[in-house]
C-alpha cells in the first residue's frame, strides 16, 4: 500500500508511480493546509445526489473521498474529488476531469485494505 502525496506547487497528486493533475483552493478559506491527513477509505460517498462540484464532467461520475487532518486545525470538510462545475475548490483536492477518471478506476480496482490511508500535503 502506498500513501498519496499532494504537491501544491506542481499541482500534482501522486499515488505510487502515477501522477494526477489536481488543484486546491480558489474559493472560501483557501487551499488545503500543508501536513498529514488520514484518508477515510470506509466513508467514501458516491452518487448522483452529490453536488456538481464533485462531478467528473467527462463521465458524469460524482464521488468524494473524505480526508481529515492528523494535526490540530480549525478547518474541516476536506476530501479528494473531481473538480466539477466552476474550476477551483474550497480547500479540497480537486482532480481535473481528464485525470479523475483514471484515478477513480485505480481506486475501484484497488482492494479496500490496499487503498491509501494517508495523504501528505506539501507546499
Amino acid at each position: 500500500m502506498s500513501d498519496l502525496l499532494f504537491n501544491k506547487t506542481t499541482k500534482t497528486l501522486t499515488w505510487g508511480a502515477e501522477h494526477y493533475k489536481a488543484i486546491t483552493g480558489g474559493f472560501g478559506l483557501g487551499p488545503l493546509p500543508d501536513g498529514e491527513y488520514e484518508v477515510k477509505t470506509r466513508n467514501v460517498v458516491v452518487g448522483s445526489h452529490l453536488a456538481s462540484g464533485f462531478e467528473n464532467t467527462l463521465t458524469g461520475n460524482r464521488w468524494f473521498i473524505p480526508i481529515i487532518p492528523r494535526f490540530a486545525s480549525a478547518r474541516d470538510g476536506f476530501g479528494i474529488h473531481p473538480d466539477g462545475n466552476v474550476p477551483g475548490t474550497k480547500g479540497c483536492i480537486g482532480l481535473q476531469s481528464s485525470e479523475a477518471g483514471s484515478f477513480w478506476r485505480r481506486w475501484l480496482n484497488t482492494p479496500l485494505t490496499a487503498r491509501p490511508t494517508g495523504v501528505t500535503v506539501k507546499p
Binding site: G28, V45, A51, D76, H81, N85, K90, G91
Partner: protein, 198 residues
Amino acid sequence: MKAFALLLGVFTISACANTAAPPLNQYLYNLSQNPKDLSQQYQACLLLGELSLSEKLVAKITKHQEKETGSFSCNTYLLAKQNYDITSLNRFVNAFPRGAKQSSLWRRHAESGYLLGVLPASFKLLSQVAIQDNNALDTLVSGIAFADGGHGEALIEVIAKIHARMPARVNQSFKRMNIKSRDADIIYNLSTHMKGKL
C-alpha cells in the same frame, strides 16, 4: 422431511424474533434516546428521518419535543420531516443554528461517516423549505462563510440552485445576512453555470 423440519424451524424462530423485536422505527428511536455515543445518536436520528413513522411514535416525539426549550434537536428535525406542516417547519427553521454555529452540525455529520451524502439531511430539508421561506433561506445563507472544504461546496450548490431560479430573493438574502461579495460571487458563478444546464 428433514428440509421441511428445518424450514419449519426457521419460520418458527423468525416469528419469535419478529414478535420479540420492536418495530424498526421504535428500535431506532430508542437508540437515539439511549445511544452509545453522539455518532450513534446522530445516525439513528438520520435513519429515522428516512422512515415513515407510526402515529404512536410521532405522538411520543411530539411530547418529548414540547419539553425542549427551542434548541435544535433530533426531535425538531424528525417532526419537521414527518409532519411537513407550517408549525413543525417553523419550529425547525427557528431552532436551526445560524452562521458559525452550523459548524458543529457539519462536524457531527463528517464524524458519522457522511451517512446519506456529503450534505447533511437537516441542511437538505432546510434548503427545501428555503425555496419559499425567507427565514429558512437566510439561515441557509448565513453559513456560507463558515462551511469549509466539501461542506462548503455542498452548501453553495444548494444555494446556487435556488439562485438560478430566484436570483432576486437570494440577492436580498445576501444583503440581509451581509454576505461578502467574494462569497456571493461564487454563488453567482455557479448559478450562471447551472442556468446553462437548466
